[in-house]
């Protein structure tokens, strides 16, 4: 069965369905409802036998590269922090089909936003490459 990552972003992606403020400016009960929904998605996936992993990432980002021989690693927080994509977290799922992954992503995107209505957040759906050796030949 294929695995997919459903990626949530702090920013980046296609034009948002509607503008909304960052979560720290929401009403407290809207924040609670949003967090409760995310927990509910994890529980639903577990109940379905489709859950592999779910994680959230802090927004602080450090780019690192090799500094060269005998040099310290080179780090930066990025030249365009306001415009680049920033991943907020993911669900990893193990499902029957791509269609099922898309349905689940749409469900994740229906999470409640400010005022309690759906957030219509864009979810980035990425297939995980399988590592298992094939048992048939290919061209």
């Amino acid at each position: 069965m294929p695995k997919y990552l459903l990626l949530k972003h702090y920013r980046g992606g296609p034009e948002p369905h509607h503008p909304f403020p960052p979560m720290d400016q929401w009403e407290p009960e809207d924040v609670e409802a949003h967090i409760a929904f995310q927990r509910h998605v994890s529980e639903l996936l577990k109940e379905n036998g489709e859950y592999v992993d779910a994680q959230a990432l802090t927004p602080a980002r450090t780019w690192v590269r090799y500094g060269g021989p005998d040099a310290a690693p080179v780090t930066t927080d990025g030249p365009h922090p306001e415009t680049s994509d920033l991943i907020a977290g993911w669900y990893m799922i193990d499902v029957e089909s791509r269609e099922r992954a898309v349905d689940l992503a749409a469900y994740v995107s229906s999470e409640p936003g400010p005022g309690g209505g759906p957030l219509y957040e864009w979810i980035d759906v990425r297939e995980v490459m399988s590592d298992a050796p094939r048992t048939t030949d290919q061209a």
Binding site: M1, P2, K3, K46, E47, N48, G49, E50, Y51, V52, D53, D94, E96, E127, M129, S130, D131, A132, P133, R134, T135, T136, D137, Q138, A139
Partner: protein, 393 residues
């Protein structure tokens, strides 16, 4: 047989007993769900106690212990129900069917109402006797996720009559799905699928069951040559044929011949016949492509609209056309599949192969690169990137 000379328990021999014990309980009218749990508990108990106290009749021992577990479970369930003042259900009559145990259980586990992932998991546990941990490892999911998948599947079967013969086509598809899942972790799923298919052929005369077993054996025989020592994919035309398993090929051919003799061909028999022709060639150059093309013609004739209903067979046929009628003819065949398969890596990989055959390395490189971008498997992606680089230089 159950004990190795070292005194350790032979888990393989123990697992062989599972279908017989479980089928016995279910036929007696016990619930599938509860019986499966009881047999798993009996297996754990066996692993604990047999090294010290080996039983005289392992199968009977497992049946007795599993039955005791069922009675215990029913007692606590009955007590609960009495507390809730619920009415008693009539005990279900024992089924009388005395067909083969493995076949009976395969029909239960491959119930058409279950999703493929559930059919696979349940088959590996109830018929294969694998633990939930092992099945989870084989599919790289958490054990809790696999446990949930199995228990949902069992709940879906709850209360259904399981004594009618099921759909053999579904059973064959599930076994092939297990075979193609390959081997990962501690469990050799391909080997397990072959073992289950062998059991199945003992229980049914259906030639497609033997066709499937033959197909698996004839493909599995090439496994030792399919990857080099660094884990890189080696394509059929470059494989060291001395490393193919001759014993497995001989068995596959024997099984296939007995199936074809029935003269009711089906897709597994036809695919096995194609695999047999590849296995039979002493070198890639000696491959009997005209005969392979003839089998492909039979294969695509099984459906009314093969482009939509069986594009994978049409793609395989395009390769054969390329070798018999020339690369240009093969490429024309793939053109017909662009709409259906154009987004799949295999379509581009086949085009790369045919462009190479036609002596057009730059078109081949471009096709292989497209294929690599669409691959969903790490080893295949790496292989296609190498093919593209090789064609370019």
């Amino acid at each position: 047989m159950i004990h190795e000379p070292t005194g350790r328990l032979d888990e393989g021999a123990l697992r062989v007993l599972v279908p017989r014990v479980l089928a016995g309980l279910v036929r007696r009218g016990e619930d599938f769900d509860a019986s499966e749990d009881a047999v798993q508990e009996a297996l754990l108990e066996a692993m604990r106690t047999w090294p010290e106290h080996p039983p005289r009749d392992p199968g009977a021992w497992l049946t007795t212990v599993a039955t005791r577990r069922l009675v215990d479970a029913r007692r606590s369930e009955a007590a609960r129900r009495r507390r809730e003042e619920a009415t008693y259900a009539e005990p279900r009559p024992a089924a009388t069917d005395d067909g083969d145990d493995a076949l009976f259980l395969l029909f239960c586990c491959c119930h058409p109402d279950l999703a493929p992932a559930s059919q696979v998991a349940l088959t590996l546990r109830a018929v294969g006797g694998l633990s939930t941990r092992e099945i989870a490892d084989a599919f790289y999911v958490p054990e809790a996720t696999m446990a949930q998948r199995i228990s949902r599947a069992k709940r879906a079967l709850h209360g259904r009559r399981l004594c009618r013969p099921g759909d053999l086509a579904v059973v064959l598809r599930v076994l092939y799905l297990i075979y193609t899942a390959g081997h990962a972790g501690r469990v050799d799923l391909a080997g397990e699928a072959i073992r289950l298919a062998r059991q199945l052929t003992l229980a049914t005369e259906e030639p497609e069951a033997r066709g499937l077993l033959a197909l698996m054996l004839l493909n599995h025989a090439r496994l030792p040559a399919r990857l080099d020592s660094d884990g890189r994919i080696v394509t059929l035309d470059r494989q060291d044929r001395g490393r193919w398993d001759r014993r497995e090929i001989a068995e596959g051919v024997r099984v296939l011949q007995s199936a074809l003799a029935v003269q009711r061909p089906g897709r597994y028999q036809l695919e096995a016949a194609i695999a047999a022709l590849h296995d039979d060639a002493a070198s890639a150059e000696e491959t009997d492509w005209p005969q392979i093309l003839a089998w492909y013609d039979d294969l695509v004739a099984l459906t009314d609209d093969p482009v939509r209903q069986d594009p994978a067979a049409m793609l395989g046929r395009a390769v054969a056309v390329g070798h018999v009628l020339g690369a240009a003819a093969g490429l024309r065949e793939t053109d017909r599949l662009r709409e259906v398969l154009g987004e799949r890596h295999r379509w581009h990989a086949v085009r790369g192969h045919l462009h190479e055959l036609s002596g057009d390395p730059s078109a081949a490189a471009a096709a292989y690169a497209e294929a690599a971008r669409r691959a969903t498997n790490v080893a295949e992606r790496d292989h296609l990137v190498r093919q593209a680089a090789r064609a370019r230089h």
